[in-house]
Amino acid sequence: MSSDQAIREVVYRACTALDEEDFDTFMAQCAPDLDYSVTAYSPEIRKEMTWLDQDYEGMRALLEMVPQHLKRLGTLKRHVSVYFIDRDEGAGTAAVTSSFIVTHTDPDGRSQLFVAGMYYDVVDCAGDQCLLKKRKAHLETRDLGIGSHIPI
């Protein structure tokens, strides 16, 4: 099974690829049975909410359309701290729990916090390359201003 460093790297590479809007590299970090969701809890309606839920093909199609959209100017930067790696040797997977914040830098160079939350990932470590099999990005921040066409 892969090293902890290799498991961490798939988390980091997935984030840097999204930061750079390099969607081919991002998809290359993902397993074919990818399950990618963004969730948040609403204290207003007292419910867990899903704000994005895509499988591999859905994510690929979504990202391929991004260049045709009118989207927030500037860049997003994901700052990730991997807290825990819990291996399941039998399944060949690792559950990875990370904290993240995403900053937005506008075209004038001003940065501000966009969103804070946690990644609950499952990494497939069975093959030669670690792949992101499942991600639940749970957001603490719920006011996202104008939002984002690119998943967190």
Binding site: L144, G145, I146
Partner: protein, 398 residues
């Protein structure tokens, strides 16, 4: 013809006065105060959906026209609205956005109120005996609340006409959606966004059909799915609007798929899209299988809170709920393909109007009430003019 000079920006367009809007409606502080007093302080405002306060003691807190309010379902089953303010020292009573309580107790000196707003407990009440203070006269200040089709509205105006008079027939395109007694709706999605734009700029993104060109999802799914001549724009008294006749072929956007016809709401096909912008700050939108309700709350002339709800059918299967959530998120929500672009547009206009670089906007498209006519924009601003007493082409009387 040469580009216009900077000084020319103050020159009104060569159009009839109802075909353009002055930028002062977005940034003038006097205009904003008039809006708070004469528009937002007078109308019926959508507060929440009944499903958010479905049980006795369920409450929701929110702001309207800068006032802190709460809606609560009482012991008698009625939904009431009160100022979210303790009668004692004026402290905010409830701090959470929602909750359930049989008594509302102020954190400060523990004065308590029942679900009907009556003051029911004052600690060491005997200390007020020499003053004759009467607890029965110290209930919460009530705000009128009425419900229609599961939608809870409130008004700060004690003399406002009844809700039914205010709405009139404006919800008629949803008669079948709301009229099926076997179908009860509930909110599954809520998010609040602070947008750096005037509150009306957000409403414009709803009633301006011409801006379909901005959205790739609308260019691909909606603009060619049905003839422009089938679009049915309607205007109603009190500034309410509606549009029907819109269709969407979701297969035409790469990341979408066709929607199951059997999952459409009553009276709709899965491809139908209908909008009802309720003047001045609320919009109900259905896209066949899912519903969205938006409301805007101005913070100041340049910042706005947009609250968006997604609704499905109460008691539906988990699979159906997941489908509706997906359909909701395809267009709407913070990661949708549509809503972030509307917010982008509102903020882009703010950058120009908020600084005076733009002085007027044109709302002159005339397609006979079909296609991408600006009819609804003109009707919106006519109602705004009627309520503010300020002509939208020159609201600051410059």
């Amino acid at each position: 013809m040469a580009a216009r000079r900077f000084a020319d920006r103050a020159q009104p367009p060569d159009l009839k006065s109802n075909d353009y809007v002055s930028g002062a409606v977005y940034h003038d502080e006097g205009v904003f105060q008039t809006e708070l007093d004469q528009v937002l302080g007078k109308v019926w405002h959508f507060a929440c959906h009944e499903s958010e306060v479905s049980n006795v003691g369920d409450y929701r807190t929110f702001q309207h026209a800068k006032q802190p309010l709460l809606v609560i379902r009482g012991e008698d089953g009625s939904v009431r609205c009160f100022f979210n303010v303790c009668s004692h020292r004026g402290a905010r009573l409830l701090g959470e956005p929602s909750g359930t309580a049989s008594r509302l107790t102020c954190f400060y000196h523990l004065w308590s109120y029942d679900t009907e707003g009556q003051c029911v407990d004052i600690p060491r009440e005997e200390g007020y005996a020499p003053t004759g203070l009467d607890k029965s006269a110290l209930g919460l200040r009530e705000v009128r609340a009425e419900t229609r089709s599961g939608l809870v509205f409130v008004t700060l105006d004690d003399s406002a006409p009844p809700l039914d008079d205010f709405l009139g027939r404006s919800l008629e395109i949803f008669d079948e959606v709301f009229g099926d007694d076997t179908v009860e709706y509930e909110v599954f999605h809520f998010h609040r966004s602070t947008v750096d734009a005037n509150w009306k700029a957000w409403q414009e993104t709803i009633v301006d059909l011409y801006h379909e060109f901005m959205h790739v999802v609308l260019r691909t799914t909606q603009m060619t799915a049905a003839p422009m001549t089938e679009r049915d724009m309607r205007t109603y008294p009190n500034g309410h609007l509606a549009i029907g006749g819109l269709k969407a072929d979701y297969r035409n956007y790469k990341a979408y798929s066709a929607r199951d016809e059997s999952k459409a709401f009553p009276g709709l096909t899965a491809e139908d899209a209908r909008f009802t912008p309720l003047f001045p700050d609320t919009t109900i939108i259905t896209r066949g299988t899912v519903m969205r309700i938006d409301t805007v709350t101005p913070i100041d002339p340049h910042r706005t809170i947009v609250e968006s709800r997604g609704l499905g059918i109460k008691g539906e299967s988990e699979a159906d709920r997941l489908m509706r959530i997906r359909h909701h998120n395809d267009y709407w929500g913070p990661f949708g393909r549509n809503v972030p672009e509307d917010a982008f547009a509102a903020e882009a206009c703010e950058k120009a109007f908020g600084r005076g670089a733009a002085q007027y906007q044109i709302i002159a498209r005339d397609e006979g009430g079909q296609g991408q006519d600006d009819l609804m924009l003109r009707a919106y601003y006519q109602a705004w003019t009627d309520m503010t007493g300020r002509p939208h082409h020159n609201p600051a009387n410059e």
